[in-house]
């Protein structure tokens, strides 16, 4: 297939997944930010979130101080933020439109409908200032639902060939990236020094994380116990049965890259890089992760995942 088509499919999925992540992280942060100090509220939640979303630097160029309203506007609608939800949906649609014939009607409709709907929210929410909370939560639901629609229609209707593989590859690459980022938010919302890890405050924070990635129930099923930080990290990093864990994402990434290399009769740096990363997850325990330092581990992962992205681009998409 055309490199450009593969590129568009791959990025289309990434943007949809990113929009979903941004919606989830905004929800989680809203929750965290409403906690009284005694329960873990620190007043720095939005700064952490902007940071985890890779948007802090850009934010500070345009805004003088970090407020909830400004942060939500910047992450959600600001045209100056290249990865605002608004821009993600628009970029997704631009990519989709360029490969219209490589998409199924259902996939196209999922994106195009969302894009049209987005305009309505731009009117109600698309300017800085006080937030209509009800409307915001409707909007965040809408974004998550859009991503589900797209994901589901791709899963149900797309022919299983390289077009599908590149599309899914984008999804898992982005999902791995954003899962790491969500975990890292927690790292940044520092505990008061007196608070022991695993205390009440911590409980609310980790719960918010789990809730953000719709994994609270899964957690209870897997661990049958109260929420503990290292287990949350275990679930979201190493557990193969957890669909958005880094490990699970890499199971999929490796499978997809292998499908591609089998179909093309050739493998390259992307496959080698992905295999090496998967091996690392297979051979690590959560103790190793915390031994490195959670933040350090996540930082390194995000960079390495980004390098895989470059390798995929070089090998297939922009040569």
């Amino acid at each position: 297939m055309l490199s450009r088509t593969a590129d568009n499919l791959y990025w289309l999925s990434r943007y949809m997944e990113r929009a979903d992540f941004l919606a989830r992280i905004i929800e989680a942060t809203q929750r965290l930010a409403t906690l009284p100090t005694a329960y873990g509220g620190t007043g720095t939640e939005w700064e952490s979130t902007l940071n985890a979303a890779g948007a802090l630097e850009g934010y500070k160029e345009h805004m003088s101080e970090v407020t909830e309203a400004d942060a939500i506007y910047y992450l959600g609608f600001d045209a100056r933020n290249p990865s605002s939800i608004r821009n993600c949906i628009e970029l997704a649609r631009t990519n989709a439109r360029a490969v219209r014939t490589a998409l199924t009607i259902e996939m196209w409709q999922a994106i195009n409908t969302a894009w049209l709907e987005l305009k309505r929210y731009e009117i109600s929410l698309g300017k800085p200032g006080p937030i209509d909370r009800i409307e915001l939560s409707r909007f965040l639901e809408f974004v998550k639902k859009t991503s589900l629609d797209f994901d589901g229609s791709a899963h149900r209707t797309m022919l299983r060939n390289d077009a599908h593989w590149f599309s899914r590859l984008g999804l898992y690459m982005e999902r791995a990236d954003t899962t790491a980022r969500i975990l890292d938010v927690k790292y940044h919302v520092l505990l008061p020094e007196t608070e022991a890890v695993g205390g009440t405050i911590d409980y609310f924070q980790w719960t918010a994380i789990l809730r953000a990635v719709s994994a609270l129930t899964a957690y209870h099923w897997v661990y049958r116990g109260s929420v503990k930080p290292w287990l949350v990290a275990d679930l979201l990093i190493l557990r193969p049965e957890m669909p958005r864990s880094l490990r699970s994402c890499y199971d999929n990434i490796v499978r997809l890259l292998d499908n591609i290399s089998r179909a093309y009769g050739r493998q390259g740096p992307a496959q080698r890089h992905a295999h090496a990363m998967l091996a690392r997850f297979e051979n690590s325990s959560i103790k190793d992760v915390f031994g490195t330092g959670l933040h350090e581990f996540l930082t390194e992962f995000v960079e390495s995942n980004d390098q895989l992205g470059s390798a995929v681009s070089e090998q297939y998409l922009i040569h």
């Binding site: 952490s48 940071n51 970029l91 960079e303």
Partner: protein, 274 residues
Amino acid sequence: MRIKIRHETRFAFDPSGKSIIQTLRMTPRNHEGQRIVSWRMDVNIDCILRPAEDSFGNVLHTFSAEGPVSGFTITAEGEVETFDMSGIVRGGIERFPNDIYLRETDQTIADKGLRAFALKAAEGNEGTLDTLHRLMTAVHEGIAIDPDASATDIVPAADILAARTGSAANVGQVFAAASRYLGIPTRIIEGYYLAGPFTIAGGHSWAEAFVEGLGWIGFDAAHDLCPQENHVRAAVGLDRLGTAPVRVAPFGGLAKVQISLNPRLTQSQSQSQS
């Protein structure tokens, strides 16, 4: 007269290109006023150089190379014997009826200023040949040659006239545009000009106009003379876009920009907190 020519064109790219493709028109051919003693083309990187002939009879090389390409030098080199034909060009390759040389191209649009200029220059003329000489002088006197302007930048005639200044290579288009407007078939020549005993001005350009009964006659308005022994013709066309020694295209490869989230998870937050 025997003229030795060495024409080097250097390109440097930063960042380097993934691939490069160009078309080159820098190989002179014989006519009564010039005989090619020897000629060769060379590019100093691994590349493919395919010769062909364009529809005007010019030798056209298509040159392509796979990257990364950071730079290269194209060398056209040889020896040409020239004869004084009093500006008249005969025995060359003629592929088109004269009508085509009356065509207005994007480079030779006769806008209001150019039309007025042409009419004024032709005022009181005594026939086509006289008109052309008057026009040549008018262009020569009306447009200051800017020695710093690049010969390879191609500027439309109307712009040069409006600015009243331009590179020596670009004034030929002003002459051609005006002369075509006056109904005289005129074409653009790209080639080499021997300015002094040892100086070759690389990439000069002038015009040729058709005079009934005489044929094609060269007019080099930049130097206010008809070519004798000091001009070597390398390419002929409707305008300089058609005769340019080198046509360059931007780099190949897809230039789509997709956006990733910043892959640096910074620690600024934790530092400010602790």
